[in-house]
Symmetry: C2
Subunit: 165 residues, 2 copies
DNA sequence: AATAATACGTCAACAATGTTGACATTGTTT
DNA sequence: AAACAATGTCAACATTGTTGACGTATTATT
């Protein structure tokens, strides 16, 4: 397996991504079933947990689904008190999304499942090798989206520093 | 971004995988629409292309869906002459799956789209870095499945050597 | 002040893809 | 002959995606 237009290698890469994604999402999916939720709910919980105060429009841009599709799961999460909204201070049309204690608890549990999976899988990797994997995944993302993704990473790290210290 | 139970880094890893998978599947999805097919059809075309003579039971194990769900798309692909079946020589209950010329053409076109995406994204990576990415993806796959995946990789490489020389 | 644009919510219909359960067919094994 | 295995099929239903149309605040523009 080396990179150089080797057709076999490229096909293998495609399959690795498919199987990795398949097995990676399997764990949380099980846990979610107990709540009557699915993968779509997980995505909302994840991104609201990581970006507290996220607006609906931003979430739509992240998930790339129609607002009707998002609204179906978001409505459930709000009705069942996993998520709540706050009207924007400046612009009162905006709804900022946050997790309730219950929502945060579930998001954290799902995160913990994936943490174990990742650290179990990658514990043998050097920091350098791990960096290569992250860089590789990042460059698979469409050029226009990479900036947005990295921007949100930065904000999350700033928030985390702000609350830790 | 370094590997060591850094919560931020692990969350970032999760998101990278999500966005990479999202953007990686977007290309073929568009092409498939023109044929009235979806991602489920793509998976069948891909794995039959890579493993000619694959049995239905093996495909079910790869995709991890119910036979009824598979049958729906497989039936379409057979009726529209992208895939054909051959009765097993030894065990005549078995149906071995193959692509027709038309099916192979479509599978190749979809492969080409993803090839361009991958090589465009990873062209700056050293062979070593590329190897790290592949190893990382592989280890994200459930332990029991890694052997199967690697086994099929080997078979595909053997087949490819057999027909190339 | 009237009008347009924005952010969001909602109703309805429909499509793709997943599920389970039940049953039929054909071929192999015991 | 009876049991098992591999596949196909019918039906019902769940989740998550789509489009189109419309409603309601709120803000921005003219």
């Amino acid at each position: 397996m080396e990179f150089d237009k080797d057709e076999q290698g490229l096909y293998e890469f495609i399959e690795l991504l498919f199987f990795a994604y398949r097995d990676f999402t399997a764990g949380p999916d099980e846990e979610l079933m107990a709540f009557g939720f699915g993968r779509a709910h997980h995505r909302v919980l994840h991104f609201v947990s990581r970006n507290p105060g996220l607006m609906v429009a931003e979430l739509l841009d992240i998930l790339r689904v129609s607002k009707q599709s998002l609204n179906r799961v978001l409505k459930q999460l709000i009705e069942e008190k996993f998520v709540f909204q706050e009207q924007g201070a400046g612009d009162r049309r905006r709804r900022h999304l946050f997790l309730t204690a219950k929502g945060q608890e579930l998001a954290d549990r799902l995160g913990a499942i994936q943490f174990e999976q990742i650290s179990g899988s990658l514990k043998g990797f050097s920091p350098k090798a791990y960096q290569n994997i992250c860089d590789g995944l990042l460059s698979l993302i469409a050029d226009d989206d990479q900036k947005e993704v990295l921007g949100r990473f930065d904000e999350a790290r700033k928030r985390s520093r702000g609350s830790d210290e």
